[in-house]
């Protein structure tokens, strides 16, 4: 299978700048900055069908096109590397293996957007990735690939790395901008949208690491070629999937978008662990509703997964076997989200702990039939939170109610968790 993001990777170490360049690295950047107009770069990205890899899957080229080119003052590009979605670790692997790909991708994006100052906002825990990035930025600057008048093409770009103080909400793009400005990481009201008024009130684009890392290949090999990497015609390009849970092999792998769930688990994951059978999985990171064996044949692409009632999200697949208590699994996720709420709006700040309390009650055998109604109510009403954190957090709860109602009822009827004591992992 053709790889774009992991093409240059070495199993045991980070690729060097020399190796990356020998294998064609920064050629797309040189080509763009010398021979392409910013509009041509943007058009290539639009044509490629690249969709945001950070979770929402918004078409990247379209996002760029919202940025007005005639406003006075600077524009900014931010790379969102605040990867904190449980089950997701693709950006870390990518940056630990090859930070140059991101540097080149950001340079191309900055060129398309005519941004002269770009930022990488990286999660506090990603020390190695930050170290690698710092090195890559330094080397690129020394090689004349960043800085002023890059490759004599007349374009200048400064790239700054910002290590986050750390919080899940910093992954929300407007909260991220607040954090970058030194304010509390609370999301901002939209409108105005970041494309119009973002960082320090200027037009700003926020893209995920993996999104940006795809751009060199799109420019180098052309959008049509890149698009064709997908397994199905509706999809475009490859995707990093992060597999964890009860499978043989848990790792981050680059696969064509549109490959089925079953193909991923039985293929590169080597199937379930001995004694385990597939019960369910989180298909795209902690905020996505569960898939069951009914979804085995679903093509892992944005639209297909959405059609099947979940979201492709970040591609973080967490697999559960037959001994997993889905109430317990959901509770685990809700604890994370309740803790990571920024505390700005009432539904998220107070609603998530309420949901957590109800799930704890059920899991501890103290559940009551009316608790199901409370959960249902929250699935609906947390949609009215200020940002997408609370609605996302309710994804697994929605899945639990829809797919594992029997399991919930059993907890309540028996007055205990039917899986207690039987957990084999």
């Amino acid at each position: 299978m053709e790889q774009v993001l992991f093409r240059h990777n070495h199993p045991d170490r980070m690729v060097s700048l020399e190796e990356y360049r020998l294998e064609g690295g920064f050629e797309a950047w040189a080509k763009a900055v010398r021979a392409m107009s910013p509009d041509e770069v943007q058009q290539a990205v639009i044509d490629s069908g690249l969709r945001g890899r950070g979770g929402a899957g918004f078409p990247t080229g379209k996002k760029w096109s919202f940025v007005p080119r005639d406003l006075p003052g600077p524009r900014y590009l931010i790379c969102n590397c605040d990867e904190m979605e449980p089950g997701t670790y693709k950006d870390r692997v990518l940056l630990e293996k090859n930070p140059y790909l991101l540097v080149e991708g950001m340079a191309l994006a900055a060129y398309a957007l005519q941004v002269n100052h770009a930022f990488i906002f990286i999660r506090r825990g990603y020390e190695q990735a930050a170290h690698n990035l710092r090195q890559a930025i330094d080397e690129a600057r020394r090689a004349g690939l960043l800085g002023s008048n890059i490759l004599a093409g007349g374009f200048s770009l400064e790239l700054d790395l910002h290590q986050s103080a750390g919080r899940y909400i910093c992954g929300e793009e407007t909260a991220l901008m607040n954090a970058l400005e030194g304010l509390r990481a609370n999301p901002r009201a939209k409108p105005p949208f970041p494309a119009i008024k973002g960082l320090w009130g200027q037009p700003t684009v926020v893209n995920n690491v993996e999104t940006l890392a795809n751009i060199p290949a799109i420019i180098e090999r052309g959008p049509a070629w890149w698009k064709g990497l997908a397994a199905i015609p509706e999809a475009a390009g490859t995707k990093l999937f992060c597999i964890s849970g009860h499978v043989q092999k848990t790792e981050c792998i680059e696969l064509p978008l549109g490959i089925t769930l079953g193909e991923i688990i039985d293929g590169p994951c080597g199937g379930m662990r001995p004694g385990s059978s597939f019960k369910a999985c989180i298909p795209g990171g902690a905020s996505t509703p569960y898939f069951t064996s009914d979804h085995w044949q679903v093509a892992m692409d944005f639209d297909a997964v959405a059609k099947a009632g979940s979201r492709l999200g970040t591609g973080g697949i967490v697999v559960f076997d037959q001994n997993t208590c889905m109430v317990g699994a959901t509770l685990n996720l809700i604890r994370f989200f309740a803790r990571e709420s920024c505390g700005w709006c009432t539904p998220c700040r107070e609603g998530l702990p309420f949901v957590q309390h109800i799930l704890e009650r059920i899991e501890d055998g103290l559940g009551r039939p009316e608790d199901i109604d409370i959960l249902r109510e929250h699935v609906q009403r947390l949609n009215y939170a200020f940002c997408a954190l609370a609605p996302g957090a309710m994804g697994p709860v929605e899945g639990l109610l829809r797919l594992f109602g029997d399991e919930l009822d059993e907890h309540i009827a028996k007055g205990k968790c039917p899986f207690k004591g039987s957990r084999s992992h």
């Binding site: 919080r167 509390r184 009201a189 309740a338 803790r339 990571e340 709420s341 920024c342 505390g343 700005w344 709006c345 009432t346 539904p347 700040r349 107070e350 609603g351 702990p353 309420f354 309390h357 009650r361 009316e370 409370i374 109510e377 009403r381 009215y384 939170a385 200020f386």
Partner: protein, 635 residues
Amino acid sequence: MPKLIIDTIAVEVPEGTNVLEAARSVGIVIPHFCWHPALGKAGACRVCAVKILEGTPKGVQMSCMLPAQDGMVVSTGDEEAVALRRSVIEWLMINHPHDCPVCDEGGECQLQDFTIAGGHSIRRYDGRKRTYINQYLGPYIEHEMNRCIQCYRCARFYQEYAGGTDFGTMGRAAMIYFGRQQDGQLESPFSGNLVDICPTGVFTDKTARFRARYWDYDMAPSVCPHCSLGCNTIPAARYRELLKVMARRNDAINGWFICDRGRFSNAAVNTPERPRQPLVDGQEVDWNKALDTLAERLQKFLEIHGPESLAIVGSPRMSMEGNIMAARLRDFLKAGTLSYFEDTELNRRTLEATGRLTRDTSASLADVRGADLVAIIGCDPSEQSPMMALAIRQAWRKGARVFRVESGRSEAGDTGISPLYESSHADSVASLPLAEAARPVLICGTNEAGLEALQITPPAKFAFLLNGPNAFGCAELAAEQGAASLAEALAAGTIKGVVAFETDLADDLPDNIQVLATADWRATALVERAEIVLPTTAWVEMDGTFINNEGRAQRFKQVMHPGLPIKGLTPELHPPHGFRKTAPGSEPTPAWQWIELLMSRMGAQSLDAPLSGHWERLKQLDPEQGGLSVLHERN
């Protein structure tokens, strides 16, 4: 002007009005906590949900976040919106301690009102409530974080609106904390507004703690007497004791807020040292006796020294009514001197400044907030009139340029611990880039620099910081009545005796001057010295009129009856067992009434009410209608 329909009522509102305000304009109250007119939208509490039936975006929306648009159809009673509002209240009530019976906010609590209005009564959450450790925030404000509903109003006000840096938001998720890094008195001179702005009982007025419920208060619309700006207030009293002061909205002046001086400097009203009984030569007498003695001694004084040796002294801290009557007393006794200002220069400058202001050139605090250039000339707003500094900050926040012309005392205010605005230095008024500004306001002290600034050609507006809540009124009267400064009259050597009303004459009033009488509610040095003391009512114990620094006459209403606070009575008298017609310590009478009584005692016939003749137009002043300018529309 978008036209929309809210619950079948057609509404037309100015562009940019949000749906919540549009609904309010036709009397539909949508519950809200985080939204505040002065702080704007936050979208945090989610309780103002409505359903948009027509228009974009459709569906359940937060009415505070959504600008009213033409053709919009809004339902506030929609089932889905009501359900969400109900959920929000339930969420907020999960951790709220329900300690209303021991909470000072009980009865004046927005959370209580909206919780009851929404019908929330059954608790479904049976877990533990979160609790916090409260902080000592100084002697004025009590902190009770357990009651907090995280609307963020306090932090938004304190940091954004008022520029404070020692208080803010900490923590995250369900552990949000509003407080300081460590215990300690709040540094902002506007900290008391936290009490008003908190929709529940996190911040309460410590000075009035556990004293009364909202429905127990004696309250009336009033005006702050602590500087010349005339901020609108609501003093609250009970049992003849002034308990606390709250801000009263006036968009032209103070907006929604007042400064801490205005809020917390009112102990003088209740103090035991306050003169409450008429005194003759240090002996307590009844008011008849006091007036008889005064009339007698005045008569004698006039016979011996002649009327030209008598000075009648009014004061910028006395109401218009008192000062008008002081002039009438002068006329009646043909006294040689009428004085409203002690200092000669201050007298001249105040008259000159107020005399040259017109309706077009006098700046209200609203004008300052809306200015695009502010110049501070020879004064220190933070020190003299903090609300002026707060108004300058609002202009600065909206992008106005702020200049300090000359140094003076202004440095302290500009470089203090919590700077309210950034300012740059300008050498002179002439060097200000006034031509580049559309709405410049010059803020001046009552000094030569301020008067020089007045020379510049409009369209600039001016705001003078005067000395006293009725300094403007006194200046008008002084001009009208030909009053001189007391110092000038003293220097001329003609004065042998004074009758003073609510004045703070300097301690060094020469020994050879006979202080025949002083009428005051404050225990001043003059009260110690006067032969006859007539106790007057404080501003909260009477109706009256002040004219603020911009020439706006404002009526303040009687809040409470004068009298010894029940708390202040001796144990023998409490609980009161005796039967009496008047409350103890209730002799204080408004200064203007003392004058009227004195004049009729001395034979004056058919006395007009103070606000008559030239001042008749102030009679119909409505304390809740924003006041009335006494300025002419002249250039």
